[in-house]
Symmetry: C2
Subunit: 271 residues, 2 copies
Protein backbone atom coordinates (compact mmCIF):
# COMPACT_ATOMS: atom_id res chain seq x y z
CA UNK A 1 0.00 0.00 0.00
CA UNK A 2 1.31 3.41 -0.91
CA UNK A 3 1.73 6.05 1.75
CA UNK A 4 -1.34 7.52 3.39
CA UNK A 5 0.21 10.34 5.36
CA UNK A 6 -1.10 13.87 5.35
CA UNK A 7 1.58 15.04 2.93
CA UNK A 8 -0.15 13.30 0.07
CA UNK A 9 -3.17 15.56 0.35
CA UNK A 10 -1.68 18.85 1.38
CA UNK A 11 1.01 18.75 -1.29
CA UNK A 12 -1.40 18.06 -4.13
CA UNK A 13 -2.21 20.98 -6.41
CA UNK A 14 -5.80 22.26 -6.61
CA UNK A 15 -8.04 19.85 -8.53
CA UNK A 16 -11.71 19.59 -9.45
CA UNK A 17 -14.33 18.70 -6.83
CA UNK A 18 -16.05 15.34 -7.18
CA UNK A 19 -19.76 15.65 -6.43
CA UNK A 20 -21.65 12.40 -5.87
CA UNK A 21 -25.36 12.98 -6.24
CA UNK A 22 -27.46 10.71 -3.99
CA UNK A 23 -24.91 7.87 -3.81
CA UNK A 24 -26.57 4.64 -2.67
CA UNK A 25 -23.85 2.52 -1.07
CA UNK A 26 -21.10 3.44 1.38
CA UNK A 27 -18.74 0.96 -0.32
CA UNK A 28 -19.01 2.91 -3.54
CA UNK A 29 -18.23 6.17 -1.76
CA UNK A 30 -15.15 4.54 -0.24
CA UNK A 31 -13.98 3.15 -3.58
CA UNK A 32 -14.60 6.56 -5.12
CA UNK A 33 -12.37 8.15 -2.47
CA UNK A 34 -9.65 5.67 -3.38
CA UNK A 35 -9.97 6.37 -7.11
CA UNK A 36 -9.95 10.11 -6.37
CA UNK A 37 -6.72 9.94 -4.39
CA UNK A 38 -5.13 7.81 -7.13
CA UNK A 39 -5.76 10.76 -9.42
CA UNK A 40 -4.87 13.59 -7.03
CA UNK A 41 -8.49 14.60 -6.39
CA UNK A 42 -9.38 15.31 -2.76
CA UNK A 43 -12.47 17.56 -2.67
CA UNK A 44 -15.36 15.11 -2.22
CA UNK A 45 -18.91 16.44 -1.95
CA UNK A 46 -21.91 14.28 -1.20
CA UNK A 47 -25.44 15.32 -2.10
CA UNK A 48 -27.98 13.59 0.15
CA UNK A 49 -26.20 10.22 0.50
CA UNK A 50 -28.86 7.48 0.83
CA UNK A 51 -27.28 5.78 3.86
CA UNK A 52 -26.43 9.02 5.70
CA UNK A 53 -22.99 10.31 6.60
CA UNK A 54 -20.46 9.43 7.96
CA UNK A 55 -20.70 5.80 6.85
CA UNK A 56 -18.33 3.12 8.24
CA UNK A 57 -18.71 1.02 5.07
CA UNK A 58 -17.19 3.88 3.09
CA UNK A 59 -14.14 3.93 5.35
CA UNK A 60 -13.72 0.16 5.09
CA UNK A 61 -13.70 0.35 1.28
CA UNK A 62 -11.41 3.37 1.06
CA UNK A 63 -8.17 1.35 1.57
CA UNK A 64 -6.23 4.17 3.12
CA UNK A 65 -7.89 7.03 1.30
CA UNK A 66 -9.70 7.92 4.54
CA UNK A 67 -8.55 11.50 4.48
CA UNK A 68 -10.65 12.15 1.41
CA UNK A 69 -13.66 10.85 3.36
CA UNK A 70 -12.78 12.82 6.50
CA UNK A 71 -12.83 16.11 4.61
CA UNK A 72 -15.95 15.24 2.56
CA UNK A 73 -18.82 17.72 2.80
CA UNK A 74 -22.52 16.90 2.65
CA UNK A 75 -25.09 19.09 0.85
CA UNK A 76 -28.86 18.85 0.70
CA UNK A 77 -29.07 19.61 -3.03
CA UNK A 78 -26.87 19.50 -6.12
CA UNK A 79 -27.42 23.19 -6.57
CA UNK A 80 -25.96 23.88 -3.11
CA UNK A 81 -23.01 21.56 -3.78
CA UNK A 82 -21.94 23.47 -6.90
CA UNK A 83 -22.79 26.98 -5.63
CA UNK A 84 -19.16 28.14 -5.17
CA UNK A 85 -17.93 26.72 -8.49
CA UNK A 86 -17.64 28.44 -11.85
CA UNK A 87 -17.65 25.41 -14.16
CA UNK A 88 -19.53 22.15 -13.75
CA UNK A 89 -19.16 18.93 -15.77
CA UNK A 90 -21.90 16.30 -15.67
CA UNK A 91 -20.78 12.74 -16.33
CA UNK A 92 -23.25 10.46 -18.03
CA UNK A 93 -23.07 7.47 -20.35
CA UNK A 94 -26.49 7.99 -21.84
CA UNK A 95 -27.48 10.57 -24.42
CA UNK A 96 -30.01 13.02 -23.01
CA UNK A 97 -32.57 15.27 -24.62
CA UNK A 98 -30.63 18.36 -23.53
CA UNK A 99 -28.75 20.53 -26.01
CA UNK A 100 -25.41 20.55 -24.20
CA UNK A 101 -21.89 20.09 -25.43
CA UNK A 102 -20.54 16.54 -24.87
CA UNK A 103 -16.80 16.19 -24.24
CA UNK A 104 -14.58 13.15 -23.96
CA UNK A 105 -12.85 12.84 -20.57
CA UNK A 106 -9.57 13.75 -22.29
CA UNK A 107 -10.91 16.96 -23.83
CA UNK A 108 -12.67 17.76 -20.56
CA UNK A 109 -9.44 17.32 -18.59
CA UNK A 110 -7.58 19.73 -20.87
CA UNK A 111 -10.37 22.28 -20.42
CA UNK A 112 -10.43 21.75 -16.64
CA UNK A 113 -6.67 22.34 -16.44
CA UNK A 114 -7.10 25.67 -18.25
CA UNK A 115 -10.05 26.68 -16.14
CA UNK A 116 -8.35 25.87 -12.84
CA UNK A 117 -5.18 27.64 -13.98
CA UNK A 118 -7.38 30.70 -14.54
CA UNK A 119 -8.59 30.43 -10.93
CA UNK A 120 -11.99 28.92 -11.63
CA UNK A 121 -13.58 26.33 -9.35
CA UNK A 122 -14.41 23.17 -11.29
CA UNK A 123 -16.79 20.35 -10.30
CA UNK A 124 -17.49 16.89 -11.68
CA UNK A 125 -21.02 15.58 -11.13
CA UNK A 126 -21.66 11.84 -10.84
CA UNK A 127 -25.15 10.36 -10.46
CA UNK A 128 -26.50 7.52 -8.27
CA UNK A 129 -25.20 4.03 -9.05
CA UNK A 130 -28.32 2.56 -10.67
CA UNK A 131 -29.86 5.48 -12.47
CA UNK A 132 -27.11 7.97 -13.20
CA UNK A 133 -27.74 11.71 -13.14
CA UNK A 134 -31.27 13.04 -13.50
CA UNK A 135 -31.92 15.60 -16.22
CA UNK A 136 -32.53 18.27 -13.56
CA UNK A 137 -28.99 17.73 -12.25
CA UNK A 138 -27.45 17.65 -15.72
CA UNK A 139 -29.23 20.94 -16.38
CA UNK A 140 -27.13 22.52 -13.58
CA UNK A 141 -23.92 21.66 -15.46
CA UNK A 142 -22.19 23.57 -18.23
CA UNK A 143 -21.16 20.57 -20.29
CA UNK A 144 -21.48 16.79 -20.35
CA UNK A 145 -18.60 14.32 -20.15
CA UNK A 146 -19.04 10.88 -21.70
CA UNK A 147 -16.27 8.29 -21.86
CA UNK A 148 -15.97 6.57 -25.23
CA UNK A 149 -16.31 2.86 -24.41
CA UNK A 150 -17.63 -0.31 -26.06
CA UNK A 151 -21.12 0.85 -27.12
CA UNK A 152 -22.43 -2.69 -26.54
CA UNK A 153 -21.45 -2.51 -22.87
CA UNK A 154 -20.65 0.96 -21.62
CA UNK A 155 -22.04 0.91 -18.07
CA UNK A 156 -19.34 1.68 -15.51
CA UNK A 157 -19.63 1.41 -11.77
CA UNK A 158 -19.37 4.67 -9.84
CA UNK A 159 -15.73 4.40 -8.74
CA UNK A 160 -14.66 3.33 -12.22
CA UNK A 161 -16.36 6.34 -13.79
CA UNK A 162 -14.60 8.58 -11.28
CA UNK A 163 -11.31 6.80 -12.03
CA UNK A 164 -11.52 7.39 -15.79
CA UNK A 165 -12.38 11.08 -15.49
CA UNK A 166 -9.81 11.53 -12.70
CA UNK A 167 -7.12 9.64 -14.61
CA UNK A 168 -7.53 11.99 -17.55
CA UNK A 169 -7.30 14.95 -15.17
CA UNK A 170 -4.08 13.58 -13.67
CA UNK A 171 -2.42 12.62 -16.95
CA UNK A 172 -3.31 16.00 -18.50
CA UNK A 173 -0.91 17.56 -15.98
CA UNK A 174 1.61 14.75 -15.85
CA UNK A 175 5.00 14.81 -17.56
CA UNK A 176 5.83 11.09 -17.41
CA UNK A 177 7.63 10.20 -20.65
CA UNK A 178 5.75 7.82 -22.95
CA UNK A 179 8.64 5.38 -22.79
CA UNK A 180 11.45 5.03 -20.27
CA UNK A 181 14.30 2.57 -19.98
CA UNK A 182 16.14 2.68 -16.68
CA UNK A 183 19.51 0.99 -17.06
CA UNK A 184 20.22 1.03 -13.33
CA UNK A 185 23.52 2.07 -11.83
CA UNK A 186 25.65 1.10 -14.83
CA UNK A 187 23.70 3.26 -17.29
CA UNK A 188 23.34 2.56 -20.99
CA UNK A 189 26.43 1.00 -22.56
CA UNK A 190 28.71 3.32 -24.43
CA UNK A 191 29.58 2.40 -28.00
CA UNK A 192 33.17 1.53 -27.11
CA UNK A 193 31.93 -1.24 -24.84
CA UNK A 194 29.23 -2.41 -27.25
CA UNK A 195 31.52 -2.49 -30.31
CA UNK A 196 34.25 -4.12 -28.19
CA UNK A 197 31.85 -6.97 -27.46
CA UNK A 198 30.70 -7.24 -31.07
CA UNK A 199 34.31 -7.26 -32.33
CA UNK A 200 35.16 -10.07 -29.95
CA UNK A 201 32.01 -11.98 -30.91
CA UNK A 202 32.85 -11.56 -34.63
CA UNK A 203 36.42 -12.78 -34.06
CA UNK A 204 35.10 -15.85 -32.24
CA UNK A 205 32.50 -16.55 -34.91
CA UNK A 206 35.11 -16.14 -37.65
CA UNK A 207 37.35 -18.60 -35.81
CA UNK A 208 34.45 -21.06 -35.47
CA UNK A 209 33.54 -20.75 -39.16
CA UNK A 210 30.05 -19.38 -38.40
CA UNK A 211 30.20 -16.51 -40.91
CA UNK A 212 30.09 -18.74 -43.97
CA UNK A 213 30.25 -18.50 -46.97
CA UNK A 214 32.59 -15.48 -47.03
CA UNK A 215 30.50 -13.47 -49.51
CA UNK A 216 27.59 -13.56 -47.05
CA UNK A 217 29.72 -12.51 -44.08
CA UNK A 218 28.97 -8.75 -44.24
CA UNK A 219 25.18 -9.22 -44.22
CA UNK A 220 25.25 -11.95 -41.57
CA UNK A 221 27.46 -9.82 -39.40
CA UNK A 222 25.17 -6.80 -39.67
CA UNK A 223 22.16 -8.94 -38.73
CA UNK A 224 23.92 -10.37 -35.67
CA UNK A 225 24.93 -6.87 -34.59
CA UNK A 226 21.35 -5.63 -35.03
CA UNK A 227 20.11 -8.13 -32.42
CA UNK A 228 22.38 -6.66 -29.75
CA UNK A 229 21.94 -3.05 -30.79
CA UNK A 230 18.15 -3.35 -30.67
CA UNK A 231 18.41 -4.57 -27.06
CA UNK A 232 19.64 -1.13 -25.88
CA UNK A 233 22.14 -2.79 -23.52
CA UNK A 234 23.38 -1.39 -20.24
CA UNK A 235 27.10 -1.30 -19.44
CA UNK A 236 26.54 -4.17 -17.00
CA UNK A 237 24.73 -6.22 -19.63
CA UNK A 238 27.63 -5.85 -22.09
CA UNK A 239 29.94 -7.15 -19.37
CA UNK A 240 27.52 -10.05 -18.80
CA UNK A 241 27.54 -10.85 -22.53
CA UNK A 242 31.36 -10.75 -22.50
CA UNK A 243 31.23 -13.24 -19.63
CA UNK A 244 28.86 -15.52 -21.54
CA UNK A 245 31.18 -15.36 -24.55
CA UNK A 246 34.16 -16.24 -22.39
CA UNK A 247 32.23 -19.18 -20.93
CA UNK A 248 31.44 -20.52 -24.41
CA UNK A 249 34.95 -19.93 -25.65
CA UNK A 250 36.42 -21.62 -22.58
CA UNK A 251 34.31 -24.73 -23.22
CA UNK A 252 34.83 -24.78 -26.96
CA UNK A 253 38.49 -23.91 -27.02
CA UNK A 254 39.79 -25.30 -23.78
CA UNK A 255 41.97 -27.79 -25.62
CA UNK A 256 44.27 -24.92 -26.64
CA UNK A 257 45.27 -21.64 -24.93
CA UNK A 258 43.43 -19.49 -27.53
CA UNK A 259 43.72 -15.74 -27.19
CA UNK A 260 40.00 -15.45 -27.90
CA UNK A 261 39.19 -17.05 -24.58
CA UNK A 262 41.05 -14.42 -22.60
CA UNK A 263 38.93 -12.42 -20.17
CA UNK A 264 38.22 -8.80 -20.98
CA UNK A 265 39.00 -6.05 -18.50
CA UNK A 266 36.05 -5.35 -16.23
CA UNK A 267 34.26 -8.52 -17.26
CA UNK A 268 32.07 -10.23 -14.67
CA UNK A 269 30.06 -13.41 -14.83
CA UNK A 270 26.46 -13.13 -13.66
CA UNK A 271 24.36 -16.00 -12.46
Amino acid sequence: MAGTNSREITDLPPAPAVILVAPQLGENIGMTARAMLNCGLTDLRLVAPKQGWPNPKATAAASGADRVLETARVYPTTRAAVADLQRVYATTARPRGLVKEVLTPRAAAAAQRSEMAAGQGVGLLFGPERTGLENDDIALADVIVTAPLNPGYSSLNLAQAVLLVGYEWWTAGDATPDRQLDHGDSGPADKTDLFGYLDRLDAALDKLGFYHPPEKRPGMRRNVHAIFQRARLSGQEVRTLQGILSAFLGAKLKRGPEALAAKQPGEEEQS
Copy 2:
Protein backbone atom coordinates in the same frame (compact mmCIF):
# COMPACT_ATOMS: atom_id res chain seq x y z
CA MET B 1 -27.62 -2.05 -18.10
CA ALA B 2 -26.30 -2.10 -21.61
CA GLY B 3 -26.95 -5.07 -23.85
CA THR B 4 -25.32 -8.38 -23.01
CA ASN B 5 -26.18 -10.37 -26.10
CA SER B 6 -23.66 -12.37 -28.09
CA ARG B 7 -23.36 -9.69 -30.75
CA GLU B 8 -21.32 -7.50 -28.43
CA ILE B 9 -18.53 -10.03 -28.29
CA THR B 10 -18.54 -11.49 -31.77
CA ASP B 11 -18.64 -8.08 -33.44
CA LEU B 12 -15.69 -6.70 -31.50
CA PRO B 13 -12.39 -6.47 -33.36
CA PRO B 14 -9.41 -8.53 -32.14
CA ALA B 15 -7.96 -7.11 -28.93
CA PRO B 16 -5.20 -8.00 -26.46
CA ALA B 17 -5.62 -10.93 -24.09
CA VAL B 18 -5.90 -10.10 -20.38
CA ILE B 19 -3.88 -12.55 -18.29
CA LEU B 20 -4.57 -12.57 -14.55
CA VAL B 21 -1.72 -14.26 -12.72
CA ALA B 22 -2.86 -16.10 -9.57
CA PRO B 23 -5.91 -13.88 -8.91
CA GLN B 24 -7.08 -14.25 -5.33
CA LEU B 25 -10.79 -13.36 -5.29
CA GLY B 26 -13.59 -14.36 -7.63
CA GLU B 27 -15.19 -10.94 -7.18
CA ASN B 28 -12.12 -9.31 -8.67
CA ILE B 29 -12.18 -11.66 -11.66
CA GLY B 30 -15.82 -10.76 -12.23
CA MET B 31 -15.15 -7.02 -11.96
CA THR B 32 -12.20 -7.48 -14.31
CA ALA B 33 -14.49 -9.16 -16.86
CA ARG B 34 -16.80 -6.16 -16.64
CA ALA B 35 -13.97 -3.67 -17.11
CA MET B 36 -12.68 -5.75 -20.04
CA LEU B 37 -16.01 -5.72 -21.83
CA ASN B 38 -16.32 -1.96 -21.24
CA CYS B 39 -13.13 -1.66 -23.26
CA GLY B 40 -13.84 -4.27 -25.95
CA LEU B 41 -11.48 -6.87 -24.46
CA THR B 42 -12.84 -10.43 -24.34
CA ASP B 43 -9.88 -12.86 -24.19
CA LEU B 44 -9.51 -13.58 -20.46
CA ARG B 45 -6.81 -16.00 -19.30
CA LEU B 46 -6.40 -17.12 -15.70
CA VAL B 47 -3.14 -18.48 -14.37
CA ALA B 48 -3.74 -20.76 -11.37
CA PRO B 49 -6.67 -18.82 -9.81
CA LYS B 50 -6.49 -19.21 -6.01
CA GLN B 51 -10.16 -20.15 -5.55
CA GLY B 52 -10.30 -22.53 -8.55
CA TRP B 53 -12.43 -22.14 -11.66
CA PRO B 54 -15.27 -21.67 -12.48
CA ASN B 55 -16.13 -19.43 -9.56
CA PRO B 56 -19.74 -18.32 -8.88
CA LYS B 57 -18.52 -15.17 -7.09
CA ALA B 58 -16.92 -14.06 -10.34
CA THR B 59 -20.22 -14.42 -12.20
CA ALA B 60 -22.08 -12.49 -9.50
CA ALA B 61 -19.64 -9.58 -9.80
CA ALA B 62 -19.52 -9.53 -13.61
CA SER B 63 -22.82 -7.59 -13.99
CA GLY B 64 -23.69 -9.03 -17.37
CA ALA B 65 -20.16 -9.55 -18.65
CA ASP B 66 -20.63 -13.31 -18.09
CA ARG B 67 -19.62 -14.20 -21.63
CA VAL B 68 -16.09 -13.01 -20.93
CA LEU B 69 -16.02 -15.43 -17.99
CA GLU B 70 -17.59 -18.28 -19.97
CA THR B 71 -14.84 -18.16 -22.58
CA ALA B 72 -12.03 -17.67 -20.04
CA ARG B 73 -9.21 -20.21 -20.19
CA VAL B 74 -7.18 -21.49 -17.25
CA TYR B 75 -3.42 -22.17 -17.45
CA PRO B 76 -1.04 -23.73 -14.92
CA THR B 77 1.74 -21.20 -15.52
CA THR B 78 2.21 -17.70 -16.90
CA ARG B 79 4.58 -19.11 -19.49
CA ALA B 80 1.84 -21.41 -20.80
CA ALA B 81 -0.69 -18.56 -20.82
CA VAL B 82 1.45 -16.38 -23.11
CA ALA B 83 2.86 -19.20 -25.29
CA ASP B 84 0.83 -18.33 -28.43
CA LEU B 85 1.44 -14.57 -28.18
CA GLN B 86 4.14 -12.47 -29.83
CA ARG B 87 4.15 -9.44 -27.53
CA VAL B 88 3.55 -9.32 -23.79
CA TYR B 89 3.06 -6.26 -21.57
CA ALA B 90 3.50 -6.58 -17.79
CA THR B 91 1.52 -4.09 -15.72
CA THR B 92 3.06 -2.99 -12.44
CA ALA B 93 2.99 0.12 -10.29
CA ARG B 94 6.32 -0.53 -8.59
CA PRO B 95 9.76 -0.03 -10.08
CA ARG B 96 11.64 -3.31 -10.41
CA GLY B 97 15.29 -4.18 -10.67
CA LEU B 98 14.81 -5.36 -14.25
CA VAL B 99 16.16 -3.39 -17.17
CA LYS B 100 12.97 -3.25 -19.22
CA GLU B 101 11.30 -0.43 -21.07
CA VAL B 102 8.43 1.19 -19.13
CA LEU B 103 5.55 2.59 -21.15
CA THR B 104 2.55 4.66 -20.14
CA PRO B 105 -0.78 2.93 -20.84
CA ARG B 106 -1.35 5.45 -23.65
CA ALA B 107 1.95 4.74 -25.39
CA ALA B 108 1.41 1.01 -24.83
CA ALA B 109 -2.05 1.16 -26.42
CA ALA B 110 -0.68 2.85 -29.53
CA ALA B 111 2.00 0.17 -29.80
CA GLN B 112 -0.56 -2.61 -29.21
CA ARG B 113 -2.76 -1.25 -32.00
CA SER B 114 0.19 -1.38 -34.41
CA GLU B 115 1.21 -4.84 -33.30
CA MET B 116 -2.27 -6.30 -33.60
CA ALA B 117 -2.73 -4.63 -36.99
CA ALA B 118 0.44 -6.47 -38.04
CA GLY B 119 -1.16 -9.75 -36.97
CA GLN B 120 0.68 -10.20 -33.70
CA GLY B 121 -0.93 -11.68 -30.61
CA VAL B 122 -0.70 -9.27 -27.67
CA GLY B 123 -1.15 -10.02 -23.98
CA LEU B 124 -1.48 -7.86 -20.86
CA LEU B 125 -0.21 -9.42 -17.62
CA PHE B 126 -1.74 -8.45 -14.27
CA GLY B 127 -0.48 -9.78 -10.95
CA PRO B 128 -2.31 -10.98 -7.82
CA GLU B 129 -4.29 -8.36 -5.90
CA ARG B 130 -2.01 -7.96 -2.87
CA THR B 131 1.45 -8.46 -4.26
CA GLY B 132 1.36 -7.60 -7.95
CA LEU B 133 3.47 -9.46 -10.49
CA GLU B 134 6.55 -11.39 -9.35
CA ASN B 135 9.82 -10.58 -11.06
CA ASP B 136 9.80 -14.04 -12.69
CA ASP B 137 6.51 -13.19 -14.41
CA ILE B 138 7.66 -9.70 -15.41
CA ALA B 139 10.74 -11.35 -16.92
CA LEU B 140 8.41 -13.19 -19.36
CA ALA B 141 7.16 -9.87 -20.73
CA ASP B 142 8.67 -7.64 -23.41
CA VAL B 143 7.88 -4.33 -21.75
CA ILE B 144 6.36 -2.89 -18.60
CA VAL B 145 3.25 -0.70 -18.44
CA THR B 146 2.88 1.70 -15.51
CA ALA B 147 0.01 4.17 -15.21
CA PRO B 148 1.11 7.66 -14.17
CA LEU B 149 -0.92 8.34 -11.02
CA ASN B 150 -0.54 10.29 -7.78
CA PRO B 151 2.86 9.03 -6.56
CA GLY B 152 1.67 9.39 -2.96
CA TYR B 153 -1.16 6.90 -3.58
CA SER B 154 -0.81 4.89 -6.75
CA SER B 155 -2.15 1.46 -5.72
CA LEU B 156 -5.08 0.42 -7.92
CA ASN B 157 -7.34 -2.54 -7.40
CA LEU B 158 -7.17 -5.25 -10.05
CA ALA B 159 -10.27 -4.30 -12.04
CA GLN B 160 -9.29 -0.63 -11.99
CA ALA B 161 -5.83 -1.41 -13.35
CA VAL B 162 -7.45 -3.46 -16.13
CA LEU B 163 -9.88 -0.61 -16.78
CA LEU B 164 -7.14 2.00 -17.24
CA VAL B 165 -5.05 -0.13 -19.59
CA GLY B 166 -8.17 -1.28 -21.45
CA TYR B 167 -9.57 2.25 -21.69
CA GLU B 168 -6.40 3.41 -23.38
CA TRP B 169 -6.63 0.44 -25.77
CA TRP B 170 -10.22 1.33 -26.63
CA THR B 171 -9.69 5.09 -27.03
CA ALA B 172 -6.56 4.51 -29.18
CA GLY B 173 -8.91 3.05 -31.81
CA ASP B 174 -11.90 5.27 -31.16
CA ALA B 175 -12.94 8.18 -33.35
CA THR B 176 -15.30 9.95 -30.95
CA PRO B 177 -14.86 13.71 -31.48
CA ASP B 178 -13.38 15.58 -28.52
CA ARG B 179 -16.43 17.82 -28.41
CA GLN B 180 -19.90 17.32 -29.80
CA LEU B 181 -23.02 19.45 -29.64
CA ASP B 182 -26.19 17.71 -30.76
CA HIS B 183 -28.85 20.29 -31.53
CA GLY B 184 -31.57 17.68 -31.90
CA ASP B 185 -34.11 17.66 -34.73
CA SER B 186 -34.04 21.40 -35.35
CA GLY B 187 -30.26 21.56 -35.90
CA PRO B 188 -28.10 24.60 -35.27
CA ALA B 189 -29.84 27.92 -35.98
CA ASP B 190 -29.03 29.54 -39.29
CA LYS B 191 -27.84 33.13 -39.19
CA THR B 192 -31.08 34.47 -40.71
CA ASP B 193 -32.99 33.20 -37.69
CA LEU B 194 -30.33 34.31 -35.18
CA PHE B 195 -29.96 37.83 -36.62
CA GLY B 196 -33.75 38.08 -36.98
CA TYR B 197 -34.03 37.52 -33.23
CA LEU B 198 -31.21 39.94 -32.41
CA ASP B 199 -32.73 42.63 -34.67
CA ARG B 200 -36.07 42.28 -32.92
CA LEU B 201 -34.38 42.33 -29.50
CA ASP B 202 -32.44 45.49 -30.46
CA ALA B 203 -35.61 47.18 -31.70
CA ALA B 204 -37.34 46.34 -28.42
CA LEU B 205 -34.41 47.54 -26.32
CA ASP B 206 -34.19 50.76 -28.36
CA LYS B 207 -37.88 51.33 -27.76
CA LEU B 208 -37.45 50.70 -24.03
CA GLY B 209 -34.43 53.05 -23.80
CA PHE B 210 -32.06 50.29 -22.68
CA TYR B 211 -29.25 51.19 -25.13
CA HIS B 212 -28.36 54.44 -23.39
CA PRO B 213 -26.48 56.77 -23.75
CA PRO B 214 -26.51 56.73 -27.58
CA GLU B 215 -22.70 56.86 -27.95
CA LYS B 216 -22.42 53.59 -26.01
CA ARG B 217 -25.10 51.86 -28.07
CA PRO B 218 -22.74 50.12 -30.55
CA GLY B 219 -20.59 48.51 -27.83
CA MET B 220 -23.55 47.55 -25.65
CA ARG B 221 -25.28 46.03 -28.64
CA ARG B 222 -22.23 43.95 -29.60
CA ASN B 223 -21.91 42.65 -26.04
CA VAL B 224 -25.57 41.63 -25.90
CA HIS B 225 -25.22 39.88 -29.24
CA ALA B 226 -22.09 38.02 -28.02
CA ILE B 227 -24.10 36.35 -25.23
CA PHE B 228 -26.47 34.77 -27.70
CA GLN B 229 -23.83 33.92 -30.30
CA ARG B 230 -21.66 32.14 -27.72
CA ALA B 231 -24.59 29.90 -26.81
CA ARG B 232 -24.50 28.16 -30.23
CA LEU B 233 -28.30 28.18 -30.38
CA SER B 234 -30.43 25.60 -32.15
CA GLY B 235 -33.24 26.69 -34.50
CA GLN B 236 -35.73 25.65 -31.84
CA GLU B 237 -33.95 27.69 -29.18
CA VAL B 238 -34.12 30.85 -31.34
CA ARG B 239 -37.86 30.30 -31.66
CA THR B 240 -38.05 29.88 -27.86
CA LEU B 241 -36.18 33.17 -27.36
CA GLN B 242 -38.55 34.86 -29.81
CA GLY B 243 -41.39 33.55 -27.69
CA ILE B 244 -39.82 34.86 -24.49
CA LEU B 245 -39.36 38.27 -26.15
CA SER B 246 -42.98 38.28 -27.24
CA ALA B 247 -44.04 37.41 -23.70
CA PHE B 248 -42.08 40.33 -22.27
CA LEU B 249 -43.26 42.69 -24.97
CA GLY B 250 -46.85 41.62 -24.47
CA ALA B 251 -46.61 42.42 -20.76
CA LYS B 252 -44.67 45.63 -21.18
CA LEU B 253 -46.52 46.99 -24.16
CA LYS B 254 -49.99 45.56 -23.81
CA ARG B 255 -51.44 49.02 -23.31
CA GLY B 256 -50.85 49.73 -27.01
CA PRO B 257 -50.98 47.53 -30.11
CA GLU B 258 -47.22 47.90 -30.73
CA ALA B 259 -45.76 46.30 -33.82
CA LEU B 260 -42.88 44.98 -31.68
CA ALA B 261 -45.22 42.63 -29.87
CA ALA B 262 -46.30 40.92 -33.06
CA LYS B 263 -45.52 37.26 -33.24
CA GLN B 264 -42.83 36.09 -35.63
CA PRO B 265 -43.53 33.42 -38.24
CA GLY B 266 -42.78 29.95 -36.87
CA GLU B 267 -42.55 31.25 -33.30
CA GLU B 268 -43.64 28.87 -30.55
CA GLU B 269 -43.79 29.32 -26.83
CA GLN B 270 -42.15 26.62 -24.77
CA SER B 271 -42.89 25.86 -21.17
